[in-house]
């Protein structure tokens, strides 16, 4: 059976800007549709089947929960790459369809009438009040305690990965430290999108391969 390489993370793992329809009608992808996403390049290098469990706007709650959801499917000699995101984001369950949703700053800038984050579909006033309270929770607790949350989330992921390592699973846990080291879409077309360009993907792919081949398991910058 072919071994797999698993990727967990946010838009930087998913490849926003270099993936068709993410974002919808993305300007950069229209101009430059050809290239290799870093996660695909890493999977090719190790000749492993790629499993992508990342999504734009992911929270660390969601990323760690996705890793837990796959624990029983990860096999000896697989590789797991986990990209930790900004710590204030959090996961909720949509009451209407029981889907997991990630709450991020963007939700608090959308007009309420068209917001994609609906907390209660049946009672509009209650929904608005709850939304305001979530905004407070987001700023007063999540943002305020970002560094503390980040360390906690990092250690949670690390413990799971170290347990997997005992079953001969190689891993890399990385965080936002590397984001601005590589070329962005904004650098190429100046549209303000700071996700990685194809060159950024290529350079991070090479770094990622180097870290995995040298058995480096963590790439982190804990901020205070």
């Amino acid at each position: 059976m072919e071994n797999k390489i698993w990727f967990f993370g946010d838009s930087f793992t998913y490849g926003d800007g270099c993936v068709e329809n993410s974002p919808p009608n993305g300007e950069y992808y229209k101009i430059k549709p050809h290239g290799v996403l870093w996660r695909e390049g890493v999977a090719d290098h190790f000749k492993m089947g790629e499993v992508n469990r990342s999504i734009g706007g992911a929270s660390n709650d969601w990323i760690i929960n996705s890793l837990i959801d796959e624990l029983l499917n990860i096999q000896p000699n697989d590789i797991v790459v986990v990209g930790i995101t900004w710590p204030e984001r959090f996961q909720i369950i949509d009451k209407k369809n029981n889907e997991h949703r990630n709450v991020i700053a963007h939700h608090f800038t959308e007009p309420r009438e068209t917001s994609t984050l609906v907390l209660d579909h049946k009672d509009r006033k209650y929904n608005e009040e709850l939304f305001e309270l979530l905004n407070m929770f987001f700023i007063e607790y999540r943002v305020q305690h970002g560094p503390l949350l980040k360390k906690y989330q990092w250690n949670q992921a690390l413990k799971i990965l170290k347990k997997l390592e005992q079953s001969n699973v190689k891993f890399l846990l990385w965080d936002l430290k590397v984001l601005w080291n590589y070329e962005t879409i904004d650098d190429v077309i100046g549209n303000g999108d700071r996700h990685w360009s194809w060159k950024g993907h290529n350079d991070w792919m090479l770094k990622c391969i180097d870290l995995l081949e040298n058995n480096q398991t963590e790439l982190v910058e804990h901020y205070e």
């Binding site: 974002p23 300007e27 900004w86 991020i104 963007h106 009040e129 309270l133 905004n135 407070m136």
Partner: protein
């Protein structure tokens, strides 16, 4: 909910949170890459 909500709103205005939140959310939204032109 009403009573709790009222008390929290009072606190929110007493602490002048409106402007602080707006600024912080804008800052995070920019960092999160959600402000660029698609």
């Amino acid at each position: 909910m009403n009573e709790i909500y009222r008390k929290i709103k009072e606190w929110f205005y007493r602490r002048n949170r409106k402007k602080i939140y707006k600024k912080k959310i804008e800052e995070l939204n920019k960092r999160d890459n959600f402000t660029y032109k698609h």
